[in-house]
Subunit: 202 residues, 2 copies
Amino acid sequence: MTERTEAQHTEKMKKRQAAHNRIVASKTVEKGLLIVHTGPGKGKTSAALGMAVRAIGHGKKVGVVQFVKGAMQTGEKAVFDRFPDLIEFKPMGEGFTWDTQDRARDIAVARLAWEEVKRMIADTRYAMVIADELNIVLRYDYLPLDEVVEALAAKPAMTHVIVTGRNAPQALIDMADLVTEMTLVKHPFRDQGVKAQAGIEF
Amino acid sequence: MTERTEAQHTEKMKKRQAAHNRIVASKTVEKGLLIVHTGPGKGKTSAALGMAVRAIGHGKKVGVVQFVKGAMQTGEKAVFDRFPDLIEFKPMGEGFTWDTQDRARDIAVARLAWEEVKRMIADTRYAMVIADELNIVLRYDYLPLDEVVEALAAKPAMTHVIVTGRNAPQALIDMADLVTEMTLVKHPFRDQGVKAQAGIEF
């Protein structure tokens, strides 16, 4: 590359930096966010777990309630159990609804998990609360949507709440601050007969 | 709910379970995956970090090289530094290219980071290698795409490699086993003037 184009590159990047700085300067609000990870792609739960890692790394207290996972020993639980002062990690599910085959029991399990989420949200010592796969429970009408929306709308101003699961109800999307849809471009389960593997799916 | 519909629910779930079990039984392949997280939405890096958590929780060794992040102390680094035997976490970037304003230096930094990724991939003790924001470096042509594709194609069979960053090159998407596009549905930066916050963005 000639000296001239190097200088052009620097000039262009200076302009880009100035534009970036103007944007950053205009963003001054700090607030607890209601975040939704939905869509048919992968990464909804793992992105929430990544945020939990970031939060506890900054010394913030995190609560995690898993609505589907329960019985299985997961990698995330083994790690988070090493930080008992910073993260309360509660797998409260009993598996997929086709495993339990008992609707009344599924509803009771969802209720217990939801009460934990409500307790954590109400307690301002938690900087972040993750309701993992709550959308699935809502999809099956195991919890009243109105009650969930009401509790989330009343969350403390600085608390981040992350809700995951495919098929997020529209009411939740409407009220959220940040919604990411994970879209499936290519999936080895479907295409290649690859099974769920430790470190990837659990 | 009447007893009859409870029985119907159980019957339906039994069928769903049987279908699910058939699908699971047909998936027998275990292999290292090439995974790409791309798209304009959030969660690309944090989903990779979540997978790193799962992997180390199962006692697997993970290597992480960050191509853009470097100077800033992140939450993830503080946590992962607590597991020195299981995870090698290397923020090797020097910020965004508009911060350095020096193309030759950006290329040299990308080269150093890429050599680390190659070393980790070649070493079969690493069960998972994460090349965080590699797509950004490729987008700017700071590394030859051919060289990257060649190295990824030659990865050991059982090693998982995760590449993140928006604008993944088509060649990478074509060769990947699992591609997730994070789509932006709603973003508080854009809509509400919310700034980057600890525990969410870093």
